[in-house]
């Protein structure tokens, strides 16, 4: 990594580099999932890796989400460092038993004897006209589960750096890659890959309102904040990065600074991560709030196919701008 100065790459390439790097660093690491080998990965993330690392370490699995996810868990117990790729979060429901009934709770149920160092990656999110069964954002739903760690890389440096931290973690880590970000291009900062997997990051400083978001929401929020700046509203954009455990400290210090909080999440409001964050902010910072917490979330419908309907169901820069502008006391 030392030779890397400034590199422009896509999110996809950053993840690929992260996997490659991990495979090179640690013999125990292997990648397992549907079509990760010959096909090159459903989203082309692992293209070329079969040739590079061989069938022993890049393992194409049958369509057995529960089977191979459980296999990854077992392999982690047996001393390996598996990266399990589930094509999309939608299919992870077939493996929910293994993730929730085993990975998340084994350490606790065994009184601290068996930790599960497995990393499970999956694509998440909508916006590509794939309709209801392929467009969910369930990362917040997984963040409900004690015992799991939930990562949501939104930037090139996080796509590049989070995986290794996840593999070093003794406990199960789920990484949610928003599928609309795979082609997103960015620059890997010099000495990038230096973030931990505990903290949120302020991606844009501002004094008037804190936009708390993650994943694709970060990009929409940054776009919105530029528009807001033209109207004299300076938004602070906080990239949550980790949905569990949430970095209260960073969230709270931003909201204390601005007195206003908006949560942008493509997931649904009801019982979602946005509800959780809102509640924490209200519980802890009630007397710091200059107006009610706002949420801009996915409409509570199964994702529709038609483009205009789907777009109407998702947050966008305009809806963020609109919401922020009507927050009490935001001007002046």
């Amino acid at each position: 990594m030392n030779k890397v100065a400034k590199l422009t790459m896509t999110y996809r390439e950053a993840i690929r580099e992260a996997i490659r790097d991990a495979m090179q660093k640690d013999e125990r690491v292997f990648l397992m999932g549907e079509d990760v080998g010959r096909y090159g990965g459903c989203f082309n993330v692992s293209e070329g890796m079969l040739e590079e690392f061989g069938e022993e370490r890049i393992i194409d699995t049958p369509l057995s989400e529960s089977g191979f996810t459980g296999c990854g868990i077992g392999a982690a117990l047996g001393g390996m460092r598996p990266i399990v790729e589930i094509m999309t979060v939608n299919f992870s429901l077939l493996a929910a038993d293994q993730i929730i009934n085993t990975a998340a709770i084994l350490l606790y149920m065994s009184g601290g004897q068996f930790n599960v160092p497995v990393v499970i990656r999956m694509a998440t999110g909508g916006g590509k006209q794939l309709a209801a069964q392929h467009s969910r954002s369930l990362e917040g739903w997984y963040a409900h589960i004690p015992g799991l760690k939930i990562l949501t890389p939104a930037t090139i440096e996080d796509a590049r750096s989070m995986l290794w931290h996840a593999l070093e973690d003794p406990d199960p880590v789920l990484i949610f890659e928003n599928s609309t970000l795979y082609n997103y291009k960015g620059t890997l900062p010099e000495n990038g890959a230096a973030f931990d997997i505990r903290t949120a990051k302020v991606r844009r400083e501002g004094r008037d309102v804190s936009i708390l978001t993650y994943g694709i929401g970060l990009h929409k929020s940054l776009e919105a904040s530029e528009k807001l700046a033209e109207e004299g509203i300076e938004a602070e954009v906080v990239d949550l990065r980790v949905l569990r455990p949430l970095d209260n400290e960073t969230i709270f210090s931003s909201v204390v600074k601005t007195g206003r909080a908006v949560i942008v999440d493509e997931g649904w409001k009801s019982g979602g991560i946005s509800a959780e964050i809102s509640t924490r902010v209200t519980e802890e910072l009630f007397y710091e709030l200059d107006c009610p917490v706002e949420r801009i979330c996915g409409e509570e419908v199964p994702a529709p196919y038609a483009k205009h309907l789907e777009q109407a169901s998702l947050p966008n820069a305009q809806s963020i701008v609109k919401t922020v502008k009507k927050m009490g006391g935001i001007y002046g």
Binding site: G259, Y287, L289, D290, G332
Partner: protein, 403 residues
């Protein structure tokens, strides 16, 4: 026993509708407290009280339209003091050790939640409540800028600022007392009544001058380029400052015609007309503008314009001007011949700055020209004084850097 009457807040104001009382019988009020909100033709305006005492009766009902000068409430002065003390002690007990900021040794501001007797429900953000507690601001007196009048942090902070400015103003007025023949209270309350007579009674004279604004505008642009967007200067601010400075040199135009005599005021308070979106004008004043820097004038100006449009000007701000300035800005006509607001004795009208042929040192050039018209009260001054005044304005605008 004092009577609180519907204040006159502008020349055109005949009456106003009481929207809301912020007080109720039994409340203690202090000089400067906002006690209610009225709906005028210019929008919602907070009304403040000028004496200290206990509210004994609210005569005006919410929703009622009350003529200027009619009694709205009865305020009992000194004899109820003991009762106040009792309330004070009561309210301090549950608060225990908690230090609440004291303002001039007055009653600690009560927590609305604690004050069961109060029926005034204040809509304020939690942060506004906390800041109000820190700054010792009574939220019932603060106008809210948010949806449905919700009070936000900035409202509380602005209120606290204003309160501070008011206190300073009171001191300034006291200092100027010996010069002013106008009774302060009657001054405020007589404006409207006098205004209705203005056109008939004031013998207006008008003087005009065309001012070359090239230097002033160039200087403005140069200065603004070095400033962040939100700190940029506007021509109107420059004009306020210029008028104030000119008045310092020609004080004859600064003051009031009362009791058939001219009374020159020491404080130079420039009233400036703000046209409201809903129509009409309000004329708040920048106090002691001659002693303020351009930046101070800028920030007060911005603040007042914002609050004027939100309907949150305080009555004192719209009744203290010693002269009025009206500026048409970029829109409007070339010249404005104004009507003096009595008991003031002058009104200075700035037209639109226009590119026009103008002779400079013997050469005709196209220059930005500002047509300036002084309306003077012939009983108080004459054209000679007026000309000197206009010339002082012109001189300053040719040397904007000195401002």
């Amino acid at each position: 026993m004092g009577k609180f009457v519907m204040p006159s807040l502008g020349s055109e104001m005949i009456d106003a509708k009481l929207v809301q009382w912020f007080i109720q019988p039994g409340d203690k009020v202090n000089k400067g407290d906002i006690i209610g909100e009225i709906d005028t033709e210019k929008g919602l305006i907070d009304i403040e009280i000028f004496e200290e005492g206990i509210v004994t009766e609210l005569i005006a009902k919410e929703g009622e339209t009350i003529p200027v000068g009619s009694i709205m409430a009865i305020i009992n002065g000194a004899d109820e003091k003991t009762k106040v003390e009792v309330i004070e002690t009561k309210q301090q007990e549950p608060n225990g050790e908690k230090e609440l900021p004291k303002k001039n040794g007055k009653l600690k501001h009560p927590h609305k939640e604690d004050n069961k007797e109060s029926t005034v429900k204040v809509k304020a953000s939690p942060l506004a409540r906390r800041v109000a507690e820190d700054l010792g601001v009574d939220l019932t007196k603060v106008g809210g800028s948010g949806p449905a009048g919700t009070i936000h942090r900035k409202d509380v902070e602005a209120f606290a600022e204003l309160k501070k400015a008011d206190e300073t103003f009171e001191k300034e007025l006291e200092m100027a007392d010996h010069l002013s023949a106008a009774d302060k209270k009657s001054m405020r309350h007589s404006i409207a009544a006098a205004m209705s007579r203005s056109n008939q009674e004031i013998p207006h004279y008008y003087l005009e001058i065309d001012i070359d604004m090239k230097r002033a505008l160039d200087w403005l642009q140069e200065t603004n380029n070095k400033r962040p967007v939100n700190e940029r200067l506007m021509p109107a601010m420059l004009l306020i400052k210029t008028v104030a400075n000119a008045l310092a040199e020609v004080p004859e135009l600064n003051g009031f015609w009362t009791d058939e005599a001219m009374h020159i005021e020491e404080g130079i308070h420039i009233g400036f007309a703000i046209s409201l979106r809903q129509g009409g004008l309000v004329i708040p004043a920048i106090l002691n503008a001659d002693r303020k820097s351009l930046d101070e004038i800028r920030s007060e100006f911005v603040d007042m314009v914002t609050r004027a449009r939100e309907g949150h000007l305080r009555s004192r701000e719209v009744s203290s001007a010693t002269i009025t300035l009206t500026s048409l800005g970029e829109r409007g006509a070339q010249k404005v011949y104004g009507v003096i607001y009595p008991p003031q004795v002058a009104l200075i009208g700035f037209g639109k700055i226009m590119e026009r042929p103008h002779a400079v040192e013997g050469m005709i050039g196209i220059r930005p020209v500002l047509s300036t018209v002084l309306a003077g009260d012939h009983r108080a001054t004459d054209g000679h004084t007026g000309s000197r005044f206009l010339e002082k304005i012109n001189e300053q605008l040719q040397h904007p850097e000195a401002l």
